[in-house]
């Protein structure tokens, strides 16, 4: 048990200090939060809470998930600054934006 804890601690230490993880819920045909500001290196994870599949598709095809059924997730690490607008390719009225800054 102690060994396992140590291993986890070592893993955590080995992660860069600036690495962050943020979750976006897909619920009631909306991305929540719809607009999000993150630092470079942030890993964003979308989780679908709806009873219907959704997708996460960047408008310039920078990233594109497959179909996310209920409880499925998709992650993307934002390594470059900028504005990334995305939508659900199944329900294009669902839109969101990630602003990545240094």
């Amino acid at each position: 048990m102690k060994k396992r804890l140590l291993a986890v601690a070592c893993l955590m230490l080995s992660m860069p200090v600036w690495a962050q993880e943020v979750k976006i819920d897909i619920k009631a045909f909306m991305f929540g939060p719809k607009d999000l500001n993150v630092a470079v290196g942030t890993k964003v994870t979308w989780v679908n809470d709806d009873q219907i599949p959704h997708t996460v598709a960047e408008t310039h095809k920078v990233f594109r998930s497959g179909a996310l059924d209920t409880n499925d997730s998709f992650s993307w690490v934002f390594n470059t600054p900028g504005e990334f607008e995305y939508f659900c390719a199944l329900h294009p009225q669902m839109i969101g934006k990630i602003v990545v800054s240094q």
């Binding site: 009631a28 045909f29 599949p53 997708t55 408008t59 939508f87 390719a89 294009p92």
Partner: protein, 322 residues
Amino acid sequence: MDIQSRHPIRTDGPLNPDRRTLLKCSAWAGAGVIWALSGGIPRAFALDAAGNVSDPKALASTFHFVQISDSHIGFNKEANPEPVKTLQVAIDKVIALPKPPALILHTGDITHLSKPEEFDTAAQLLKGLPSTVHYVPGEHDTLDEGGGTLYLERYGKGTKGNGWYSFDDHGVHFIALVNVFNFQAGREATLGADQLAWLADDLRAVTSSTPIVVFTHIPLWTVYQPWGWGTEDGDQAIAMLRKYGSVTVLNGHIHQVIQKVEGNITFHTARGTAYPQPAPGAAPTPGPMTVAADQLRNYLGITDVRATQGDHPLALIDSTLV
């Protein structure tokens, strides 16, 4: 006093609220209604409790075809854990028709997540239908990694672009349009310039007296913009169809019957065979509507379309899976 003279009972007109009329009205609520189109003017005929039409004008059809939609094989949530079963009920209903349909249209969302096994299951079931099935894809059929490759490999042979095509049957010109590719953020569905150019070219050889049936997944007209229930450039296709005497536009996607008539064009969306969706704006989201299990089949169904050669009326008969 002669009551009869003060309140003459009419037996010749529509204002006579006799028992027969009342029965017809109550049948509307229970069993459904048939729309017969003559010169673009729709006329409603009631169905009796058994789903039959008593008026011979509506029955005098020389051929008929069936529309099935939104099977969503692979869906397994509360609104219908067993869409395979309800699709089978729909198929059995088609098999049970007194006369086999000349053809069958499936207006998309055959599968829920475009998985190969979902396509396989659907194909296995739909093989049981008594006539040739003509397909268009729904957006749920384009979710594979290739963005529609699996659908097109299976159903796209001999079609143009992303699966559009036309054919003639019993003097009716059928046009299959595809509006589930190239979605743009915040926008409605699109047909695209290539498909519109093809449509204009396809219609060149069709005389204005030929009845036309257009079938596509997402409604060509905007049913409800906030939910994306419409096709942005659908009006360009509709404009090309205005000169024709009888045009019927059949859609799926919204899992409920909604009808609109514009000149000689009748727009009609069919029920699905998997799960119901709320009426436009009636719920916060268009997500699956869960109804009592013993009520579900009242919300699912098929559409039978009857055509009479000569004066070209098309009659649309929606029936539920009950």
